[in-house]
Symmetry: C3
Subunit: 137 residues, 3 copies
């Protein structure tokens, strides 16, 4: 069994952003020379998520609006008594979940065309990382 570890780095211009990362994950799988196994794509931060869904601009706006409705910015979060102002970012990350597992068969990601991998930034404008960890043989 082999493992292969890489990181993707993000520094988004906006506070919240949804970055399509399927091509980068595919490249890492190819570079790993692992033919059969799994890839874990996992945010290394507690204010960011990773999810699989459609790369369609309207839907991405809908997702963003929906997350803001369900986990809105609020001054009065208790977390803000520490000096932070990103309570909502933590809640959004929990809702979206911070990781996905993608199967690898014959050296390729086993995803359908519309299943695209996204990095969801909920507290951006600074350097953040995603672990891409391939495991198999």
């Amino acid at each position: 069994m082999k493992t292969h570890t890489e990181f993707l780095t993000f520094n988004t211009k906006k506070h919240r952003a949804y970055v399509h990362i399927t091509p980068q994950v595919e490249k890492i799988v190819h570079d790993s020379w692992i033919k059969n196994g799994m890839v874990l794509v996992s945010a290394m931060h507690i204010t960011a998520g990773v999810y699989v869904n459609d790369n369609e601009d309207g839907l991405i706006q809908d997702i963003d609006q929906w997350l803001e409705n369900l986990a809105p910015f609020r001054q009065e979060y208790k977390h803000h008594q520490t000096g932070e102002d990103n309570g909502d970012s933590h809640l959004k990350a929990i809702l979206v979940h911070h990781q996905v597992i993608l199967p690898v068969t014959d050296g390729e990601l086993r995803l359908r065309t519309r299943q695209r991998v996204f990095y969801a930034e909920f507290d951006g404008q600074r350097s953040k990382r995603v672990l891409v960890y391939v495991m198999g043989e």
Copy 2:
């Protein structure tokens, strides 16, 4: 290390449906002859989820009502400008999450009795697939 890949196919009669699939996943684990490892059960579509919870009819109705409350159908989703009408299906899938990992020990799924695996369809009445991917030895 071995891997074993199979697919389950669904074509639900209703637009939303919750299908209990533990027996099918158990059969695939047995057929794989893998004794120790993990199974990834992952929807191959972006309007469907996979989750582990109770196989109790009342609870399933509660889950459905709750998901419709938190991620309701709305005409005005931006995604609908593409001609689609399933914006809510994508949001429900993100909320439920589209995959679970189940441990396999001694050739059996390591689940408690009330932990049952469900396929959650949020845009049915057409053919959809779930990947069941066993990895181990």
Copy 3:
């Protein structure tokens, strides 16, 4: 490939509780002697979750309040016709998700300092278990 299985047991004093378990998971990884692979940390119950986020008291209170807002206790859940009164506990567990996968490299959990693993109890005051399953070599 090796696997190593252990369980953590909880019996929380409160109905809902958030228990920091990173040290216990780290110890199990060390005891497994697995150097490279993954750990699955997965609740064995359908009214509990496992998540990765900050070990900050204010945030934990915010998470609890937010979950109660989005998946509140309600008398009228259909699940309660079975005699149960924990419909909300199931919904909270689905929202948080019941498992995480953590990478192991060089015999250590690959997490950043603020990424802490939590057991989220939504129907406590009785014995519950979490599976910690290490897989690798």
